[in-house]
């Protein structure tokens, strides 16, 4: 007589339950890793500006601050602070001047007014956006599973959940990670509609397209990309796709998306005439833009048309364009210049992606080209790869400055899903691919975890890891002020390092973290009249950006590069180097000069 233990239905239920449990477990672990970074790192450069902008939206009901990014994410992030925290803020210097990014000054004021409590407020706001990263991981799993099988789903899930770049930015309220999550969700739902066009799926696709617009303006490219993809799907039918995606359903999507976008801005000044705007970028204002701004559409037929987007959304794109038209200092592989490089983000992908992940991507491309077992119909592959190309071309084309690798975060989930096709090897007879995939995946995961929780400073071992990374990329790619609290802990644990000079790169100040810091002497040629140039005996903590002579602002000078001649006694995270300079060190330095 068969026992309950022999019941095949129980066996099937267990087999269906285990993958779900594994997914939940991996997502929970991912959320825990993010929460740990969120709780233990200092605010990075732009975060206070995002937080205070969100608070201003709640307090005053206007959405002017930080208009280059849509407001909903920072409103969600700042909501617990607005509701439950007894914060202080002085808004008197905040003004709506198109040429002045008041949000950064407001962020500094907020930090000054709230002192050490600011760190707790930031931590609270960071926790609000952790579910967004989990959502992105979940979408990657779903899409990979549908394309290539459940093992592929786990490959993309693991790639997302342990990616050092996802961990770094998912633990902040900077919107790039959210843009990655909502962008992949928008394209995924669009793809599902393409495969089985129904009104329900069209509505989901329209809604998620709108939500992606509310994450970051980068995804405005989807309004151009989706028609291209749709048009390709309407070409001669092939087996497996019986229905041509109907034009009516497709037309409804952007309309829905625009409704969602406007709702996200509470329809603030929507449908304003195009010639009513005062633009500051050359692209929109014209070549002879006056100091008060201009509008190249004034007096044209186009200028009379109402713009179906919120006013601050349009002005945000204009401000962002103006920023990208203004050459700023950038650093790449030891070279600094005004202006950027078109290949900067490609280079960033090569040095800040784990080698295991890069190997998975290369192998995936090889199999895509050579093995039908690892390939979907070309239309499905196109939906996956076109956003990668589009985002890369968009960011790479902005060469006024090159600073932020995080601008390419939105293309990462598509690369993870592309790489996940190797998971097919676990379900078919493909031992060499299984072996390679297993090694590369394990290498990706462990490479990231060995640098955790300093994921923001991650560089792969081809460039010497985070220690060697400073010779390749600087600024937000290695040091954005995240290790200030760790510096405080180090100083508390090393009382002999007192007094200590601090040259910190960040929006907060050492005093905010309770560090009683003195100045670090400027190097020879940079000292003020009457001051002794460095090196001088003492303890010094210097941010790696300053150490490398990075010019973030025009007034920055390579005042601290002389310290590169000395061996640091400690490294705080990978972004702050601590030196102990003795009299003997100074004498040796002088002798060698």
């Amino acid at each position: 007589m068969p026992t309950r233990r022999d019941d095949p239905m129980d066996s099937n239920k267990a087999h269906a339950f285990l993958p779900r449990l594994a997914v939940a477990g991996i997502l929970a672990l991912h959320a825990s890793l993010l929460a740990y970074i969120a709780a233990t790192t200092a605010p990075v450069f732009d975060e206070p500006a995002h937080l205070v902008s969100g608070l201003s939206h709640w307090e005053f009901g206007n959405l002017d601050l930080y208009r280059v990014n849509p407001p909903p994410l920072r409103m969600i992030a700042s909501l617990p602070v607005y509701l439950f925290a007894d914060y202080e803020m002085d808004w008197k210097d905040v003004r709506d001047d198109p040429y002045v990014r008041s949000e950064f000054k407001a962020g500094r004021v907020f930090l000054r007014k709230n002192g050490e409590r600011s760190f707790r407020y930031l931590m609270l706001s960071r926790m609000m956006l952790i579910p967004v990263s989990c959502l992105g991981a979940w979408v990657c799993f779903l899409w990979s599973r549908q394309l290539y099988g459940v093992s592929a789903g786990f490959v993309s899930l693991l790639l997302w959940c342990f990616s050092p770049n996802i961990l770094a930015w998912g633990a902040t309220i900077i919107p790039d990670l959210s843009a990655a999550a909502f962008g992949v969700m928008a394209v995924y739902t669009f793809w599902r509609w393409l495969r089985e066009p129904t009104w329900k799926r069209a509505v989901y696709a329209g809604l998620t397209l709108g939500v992606a617009q509310l994450a970051k303006t980068t995804w405005i490219i989807l309004f151009a990309l989706f028609p291209i993809i749709w048009f390709m799907w309407r070409s001669p039918r092939q087996h497996g796709h019986s229905l041509a995606p109907p034009a009516k359903q497709f037309a409804a999507m952007p309309l829905l998306a625009i409704c969602v976008l406007n709702t996200g801005y509470a329809f603030e000044h929507s449908f304003r005439r195009l010639d009513d705007f005062v633009f500051i970028s050359t692209t929109l204002a014209g070549d002879n833009v006056a100091t008060e701004g201009g509008n190249r559409f004034s007096g044209t037929l186009l200028g009379q048309l109402p713009v179906p987007f919120p006013s601050n959304y349009v002005r945000g794109i204009d401000v962002q364009k103006h920023d990208f038209e203004t050459p700023s200092w950038s650093y790449l592989r030891g070279e600094q210049k005004r202006g950027g490089w078109w290949y900067y983000y490609l280079y960033g992908l090569l040095v800040k992606t784990p080698l295991g992940t890069l190997a998975l991507l290369v192998l995936a491309f090889i199999l895509l080209a050579s093995a039908t077992t690892y390939r979907q119909p070309w239309r499905d592959e196109l939906v996956l790869l076109l956003p990668v190309v589009a985002v890369l071309v968009l960011v790479s084309s902005q060469t006024a400055f090159s600073r932020n690798y995080r601008y390419v975060l939105p293309l990462l989930p598509f690369l993870f899903i592309h790489a996940s096709r190797l998971g097919r090897a676990f379900e078919i007879d493909g031992l060499p691919v299984r072996l390679a995939s297993g090694v590369f995946l394990a290498a990706s995961v462990i490479s990231s975890l060995l640098v955790f929780p300093h994921s923001l400073s991650y560089f792969n071992c081809a460039v010497g890891g985070p220690i060697g990374g400073k010779y390749h990329l600087l600024d937000a790619n290695i040091d954005w002020g995240q290790d200030l609290l760790k510096l405080k802990r180090w100083i508390d644990g090393n009382p002999e390092a007192n007094p200590i000079g601090v040259a910190y790169f960040g929006i907060a100040t050492p005093a905010l973290a309770g560090i009683d810091a003195t100045a670090v002497p400027y190097g020879p040629g940079f000292e003020y009249e009457g001051d002794d140039p460095g090196p001088q005996p003492g303890w010094y903590a210097v941010s790696v950006n300053h150490l490398m002579g990075y010019r973030h602002y025009d007034i920055d000078r390579p005042k601290y590069v002389y310290l590169q001649r000395f061996e640091p006694v400690a490294t705080i995270g990978y972004s702050i180097y601590v030196y102990r300079i003795t009299e003997a060190d100074v004498a040796e330095y002088q002798a060698l000069r």
Partner: protein, 76 residues
């Protein structure tokens, strides 16, 4: 080839591949630690130790489990 549907598919003996990945992590950890240099914070040191320990424990545990299952199957 069009992939099947949204039903969860039964993975094929993934425990062997999980064990393989664990051994890979155990082998790679020393090399990657050497490349990245010593831990720069206590929490990084704790994480490195935990990852290595869990990978080693997972690899050994899965290997031992497999041996016991084989012996039980032979006995049956």
């Amino acid at each position: 080839m069009t992939q099947n549907t949204e039903d969860v598919q039964e993975p094929v003996d993934l425990s062997s591949w999980v064990e393989f990945c664990c051994w890979t992590m155990v082998v790679l950890a020393p090399f990657l630690t050497w490349v990245n240099g010593p831990a720069v914070s206590t929490d990084q040191f704790v994480m490195r130790t935990a990852v290595f320990t869990l990978a080693l424990a997972g690899a050994i545990g899965l290997r031992v489990g497999k041996i016991f299952r084989r012996r039980r199957n032979r006995a049956n």
